[in-house]
């Protein structure tokens, strides 16, 4: 059996991340798989931090592994034997790693950075976790690069415009499908700058590691004809992706990014998608040095309807059927509405990965 780490990421708050996490926990605990659980945010409390509406909580059997901030243990009913106190500090105290010795509900807040999640992931694997779940937070993505794959939770809380949701999910799916085995010419990769290079691997131009300002790309003019590839180790903004798509790079040009998250963080999925399509049409390639595949999508028709009169939130719903079918048509991976269908389908997708 393989050991894998899954990230459950959302496109916004209240998209059903924790519901998804909980469904997976229930299913796999029932199968006797040793699970690891952590979170890059804070979940498990009974009322939402921002909207004040009720939220689900996470139940763990004995034997499961957890990595949580210390203060979570005090308010959880599950009993955890601490095996290691890390040096990772969060607003809720130090992250401790341990094993559940008394079953119960757990409030989970954990490492909030890429490097820290990497450390926890390795600990989980070392302790024998078959499946480690990383519960997401809001729309945060960055640390998920330390997982083997993403389950995306989206829904009306992100937008009640179902077409837009589908387009976004589709774009995200496309970006996450980028191959993660991008090779670069020897001697090139440096973390502190972006480079344009030629067929011989010689550097033609240097740019900042992260590309925010499209004006900065104007300096590339003279080197474009001889370019073979561009490597950007940092994040790239939507406007820069647009500009890169417009510049007259030669056919066959390779654009390398560190991982799909760097592109997703452009903040403009439409621009990112459009960039990919443009490059493809021009005969070029977009690759990543590290993959982050999208494994499945869960949808949630719920959204908190903000009432201006009373300055609070009230539950509301979009058409679940339409939402589900729209997302299914847009992405190339399985899509589920857990509330309607149960966790079986999603669990099946994951089981295939583990075995």
């Amino acid at each position: 059996m393989k050991q894998i780490t899954l990230g459950i990421a959302g496109t916004a708050k209240n998209t059903g991340k924790t519901t998804t996490t909980r469904a997976l926990l229930e299913h796999f605990q029932g199968l006797g798989v040793t699970l690891g659980l952590t979170s890059i945010g804070y979940d498990g409390e009974s009322v939402d931090n921002v909207t004040g509406l009720p939220k689900p909580r996470l139940y763990l059997d004995r034997g499961q592994l957890v990595a949580v901030a210390e203060r979570c243990l005090a308010v959880s009913s599950a009993g955890v034997k601490v095996l290691e106190r890390t040096d990772l500090i969060t607003p809720l105290g130090r992250v401790v790693c341990g094993r559940v010795v008394k079953e119960g509900l757990l409030v989970v807040a954990g490492p909030n950075q890429i490097a820290h999640l990497g450390q926890i992931r390795r600990w989980m694997a070392g302790q024998g976790a078959g499946l480690t779940l990383v519960d997401g937070a809001l729309n945060r993505l960055a640390p998920m690069v330390e997982t083997d794959g993403l389950i995306l939770a989206t829904g009306a809380s992100r937008s009640t415009d179902l077409d837009r949701l589908a387009l976004e999910a589709g774009s995200l799916g496309l970006i996450c499908s980028l191959p993660g085995d991008g090779e670069l010419p020897a001697g090139l990769p440096a973390a502190d700058q972006s480079v344009v290079y030629d067929h011989g691997g010689r550097v033609l131009a240097r740019l900042p590691a992260s590309l925010f300002d499209p004006e900065g790309l104007n300096s590339l003019g003279p080197v474009i004809p001889g370019a073979a590839g561009l490597y950007c180790p940092g994040v790239v903004s939507g406007r820069c992706l647009e500009r890169l798509g417009e510049l007259p790079f030669p056919a066959g040009m390779i654009f390398s990014f560190a991982d799909p998250v760097k592109i997703l963080l452009s903040g403009d999925l439409i621009a990112a998608r459009s960039f990919l399509e443009k490059i493809c049409r021009k005969g070029g390639n977009v690759v990543c040095r590290r993959p982050l595949p999208l494994l499945a999508v869960t949808v949630n028709p719920f959204y908190p309807n903000y009432r201006f009169g009373t300055h609070d939130y009230k539950p509301a719903y979009v058409d679940g059927e339409l939402l589900l079918s729209g997302i299914r048509a847009a992405v190339g991976v399985p899509v589920f509405d857990l509330a309607r269908e149960g966790a079986g389908g999603l669990a099946g997708v994951i089981e295939k990965l583990i075995r």
């Binding site: 931090n49 809720l92 729309n139 925010f212 963080l265 903040g267």
Partner: protein, 606 residues
């Protein structure tokens, strides 16, 4: 400590004053700060981080619709561009709590009321422990720095004569109260008691010295009709409640820039558990000390019972178990006073106060004898013993002039107070003087407060200070009889009296709740918060503002001083302090003072 480079960014459309204050504080601590303009995009802030090579970023933002996602994206960007490892991210704002900061992915969250010190700890990399803003409070010794030297030598001389007389008179006398105190002192050990050991020798001697109600308790297990015991579950629940509360307590100070006065309020709902609730609230709202208010039937009863006794009327019964429970719930820095100033149990109360390590007690022979119903001879014998125990245990006490409330003029009550005080000094104890700040019958009849409440109260303090260098602690509580049931009026009355006391530089004050004038039921805890807030506000308003006594105040203080001297001369001439009490020299029937009858004919020859 290497200086850090700190980037402060209001992501708010409006410049944040809080962030500016913190920025200045961080600069003054030697770090470099860069304050960005408001309303920048996350990407722009990231670029500033990259170009300035900062160590710490402090964002401030008010939460609103969609804001959480913007902040989350900022954190993501910081992580993805690779600076997250070397840059600490803090978020501050009105709705920020540690849980929210954790959800957003920040290293720390700063809510409203965050101090510069907290932000600085974060900047300097000292571990941030959310939710524990406990400043440690240290107990103040009210008597420190006072020489007790007399400034009026005639009064000093008279007091000396009177004290000699009292000690001679009391030398061969004892009482059931004194005997019980001795038994309690010698045969009852608090540690053994806490260990649930049976105090057999104590139980052999003690009940025989008690009155009927306590005797029935020890010999037959009969409870006082208005009391009940607590169940084991209730006790456990209370202990858990105290543990939980103590963990999240923070202890604000009331005094703003002042060093004095120490502020006391009273507890005594009748139930030690509810009292514990009241005490924790009082501590949390700034009370420096709390005073045990016991029911008046206790003063008429020979002896104490034991167990957690809750009692449905005003005042909480003194039993070792009740005292122990309350002691264990106090914050380490809270002063605790257990009063022994009236009734048939005065010396034993001081012994219990000593064994349970109370910080203060209260003793006044004259008030107890003239205004609280205890026989003068009995209370004199008991008072001397009580003072000796207070000296032995090193517990200071105040001497309060509550007989003013009966109608005894201040100068007579002060004469009695000084007698008790001088006796105390002779016996090696440490008294504090407690004049009343009140609208007394004397004041009403003489019109002393027709225009203002200030002059006469000032006069009292001036008079005492002209006589002796001793701590002054107005009570009890201050503003007595000036308060009505109107919550605002009542709180204001207390606050103004407290501010006056502060301007006079007194050492401590006892304050009422805003329920002071309400007699329809027990005092509720919100009313204690009311006056603590009001007093704090008065201290904030006036700060170190001082008061110059008016001509009228000075005139009255001179009259009080000579009045005191006159009374003391009469007492000294009478040659018998106890008879002086009976005969009304220190307060007579016309004044409204009555020699008490409880304990009459109970004084014994040794």
């Amino acid at each position: 400590m290497t200086p850090k480079k700190v980037l402060l960014a209001p992501i708010d459309p409006v410049h944040d004053v809080g962030l500016k204050l913190i920025s200045r504080g961080i600069r003054e601590a030697g770090h470099e700060t860069v304050l960005l303009q408001p309303d920048l995009e996350p990407e722009e802030i990231i670029q500033e981080i990259l170009s300035h090579r900062v160590d710490v970023v402090l964002l401030s933002r008010t939460l609103g619709y969609g804001v959480a996602e913007i902040l989350a994206r900022f954190v993501d960007l910081a992580d993805a561009v690779g600076v997250r490892g070397r840059v600490r991210l803090g978020i501050g704002g009105m709705a920020i709590r540690p849980e929210l900061a954790a959800e957003l992915g920040f290293d720390a969250g700063f809510g409203p009321g965050t101090t510069v010190e907290e932000a600085l700890a974060f900047v300097e990399g000292r571990e941030y422990l959310p939710g524990r803003g406990k400043e440690s409070k240290e107990k103040q010794d009210l008597t420190r720095g006072y020489s007790y030297a007399y400034r009026n030598s005639r009064i000093a001389g008279l007091l000396s004569v009177i004290t000699d007389g009292i000690l001679d008179w009391a030398a061969n006398k004892t009482s059931p109260g004194v005997l019980r105190a001795q038994v309690r002192e010698d045969l009852w050990d608090v540690d053994r008691w806490r260990n649930y050991e049976k105090m057999s020798e104590f139980l052999a001697e003690y009940p025989g010295l008690c009155g009927e109600v306590p005797q029935n308790f020890y010999l037959k297990g009969v409870m006082h009709p208005k009391t009940r015991r607590f169940t084991r579950e209730e006790v456990e629940a209370l202990e858990q409640y105290v543990r939980d509360t103590v963990e999240r307590m923070s202890l604000p100070g009331l005094r703003h820039t002042l060093q004095k006065p120490v502020v006391f309020n009273q507890y005594g709902t009748g139930c030690p558990f509810l009292d514990t609730g009241h005490i924790k609230v009082s501590e949390a709202w700034g009370a420096d000390g709390v005073i045990h208010f016991d029911p008046s039937w206790g003063a008429r009863t020979e002896g104490f019972m034991d167990g957690f006794l809750t009692h449905q009327e005003d005042g909480t019964v003194i039993t070792p178990a009740n005292l122990n429970r309350i002691k264990m719930s106090l914050e380490p820095g809270t002063l605790w006073q257990v009063r022994a100033h009236r009734g048939l149990n005065t010396p034993e109360t001081v012994v219990l106060a000593g064994k349970f390590k109370a910080d203060l007690t209260k003793i006044n022979i004259c008030y107890g004898a003239l205004g609280a119903g205890t026989d003068p001879a009995r209370l004199t014998v008991d008072g001397v013993a009580a003072i000796r125990y207070a000296a032995k245990y090193g517990i200071p006490f105040d001497v309060v002039t509550n007989e003013e409330l009966c109608g005894v003029p201040a100068y007579k009550a002060f004469a009695g107070m000084l007698i008790t005080a001088d006796l105390s000094l002779r016996l090696g104890a440490k008294p504090a003087l407690q004049p009343l700040f009140c609208y007394s019958p004397e004041v009403m009849l003489e019109g002393y407060m027709r225009d203002n409440y200030v002059d006469f109260n000032v006069a009292k303090v001036l008079a005492l200070r002209r006589i002796i260098d001793a701590p002054v602690w107005p009570g009890a509580p201050i503003g007595f009889m000036t308060q009505t049931e109107d919550r605002v009026q009542s709180s204001a009355a207390t606050s103004y009296h407290a501010s006056l006391a502060a301007m006079l530089g007194v050492d401590a004050i006892t304050i009422a709740s805003s329920d002071e004038a309400y007699s329809g039921g027990p005092i509720t805890v919100p009313s204690k918060v009311d006056t603590l807030r009001a007093v704090a506000e008065g201290f904030r308003f006036f700060g170190h503002t001082s008061i110059e006594p008016s001509a009228q105040a000075r005139a009255w203080s001179g009259e009080i001083e000579s009045g005191i001297e006159g009374v003391l001369r009469r007492v000294a001439d009478r040659g018998d302090f106890v008879q002086a009490l009976y005969e009304g020299i220190l307060g007579n029937l016309e004044d409204g003072a009555y020699p008490g009858r409880n304990g009459r004919d109970t004084v014994l020859e040794k």
